[in-house]
């Protein structure tokens, strides 16, 4: 009885977070902020929903499967976000005009100046570490 209510609460809460994330993806003004919504709020909603599912089945094997799903999502979501964010920034996807500071732009312009001056080794370096 109590668990049923808790399960219902977790399912509804999780989908509410997913819905908020989807709203965010529609409403937020620039790509980077949309990414905040897409990675955080939806991953959190997913965890809530699967916590509800784990409670519902109450089975060790199912619990292991669910732990695997949640762990997997929590490890891969930030990596995927980082890769897309970096690619987008290098492609000059615009920032919102309210953006206060940008300490990355000078750095990239610096490395692009190095490419133009024919410094091939320095040009190749920025792409390697995170790949």
């Amino acid at each position: 009885m109590i668990t049923d209510i808790l399960i219902a609460f977790l399912l509804l809460g999780g989908s509410a977070f997913a819905l908020v994330a989807a709203l965010g993806i529609v409403r937020l003004p620039d790509f980077y902020m949309r990414m905040h919504a897409a990675t955080k709020a939806s991953a959190f909603g997913l965890v809530l929903i699967f916590a509800g599912a784990a409670l519902y089945f109450g089975d060790l094997l199912v619990l292991l499967e669910i732990l695997l799903i949640v762990f997997f999502v929590y490890v891969t979501a930030p990596i995927a976000a980082h890769l897309i964010g970096r690619a987008a920034y290098h492609m000059n996807v615009p920032l919102w005009e309210e953006t206060q500071v940008d300490e990355l732009r000078p750095r990239i312009e610096e490395s692009e100046a190095e490419i133009e001056s024919g410094n091939a080794s320095a040009a190749a370096a920025p792409d390697d570490p995170a790949d």
């Binding site: 049923d4 599912a53 897309i84 690619a87």
Partner: protein, 94 residues
């Protein structure tokens, strides 16, 4: 009010399925609209996350736990797809 309690999980399951489908619709709007390719990739990633969540709700709603491995597989493929997309974006810029 008390009448609802025996079916509370079913009701919550149906309601959250509806909310998740609405979320998929919103993300699809972003997928179609863009404006940048990167926006579309993020929308696509979001849709796969929502699909994984939908599978979780579906498992509860029907009581079939055999669908849960599907969620793992979708997560894996989505991750590889996103990585491939990110690399493609970096390539295209160079």
């Amino acid at each position: 009010m008390l009448l609802f309690i025996p079916h509370i999980v079913e009701i919550a399951g149906s309601a959250s399925m509806g909310m998740l489908l609405l979320a998929v619709a919103l993300a699809t709007w972003r997928l179609l609209r863009g404006p940048d390719l990167a926006d579309r990739v993020v929308a696509l990633e979001m849709i796969t996350l929502l699909l994984i969540a939908l599978i979780g709700v579906y498992a509860v709603r029907t009581g079939i736990d055999a669908v849960l491995p599907v969620a793992i597989v979708i997560g894996l493929i989505a991750f590889l797809g996103t990585v491939a997309f990110a690399r493609y974006l970096m390539r295209r810029k160079a």
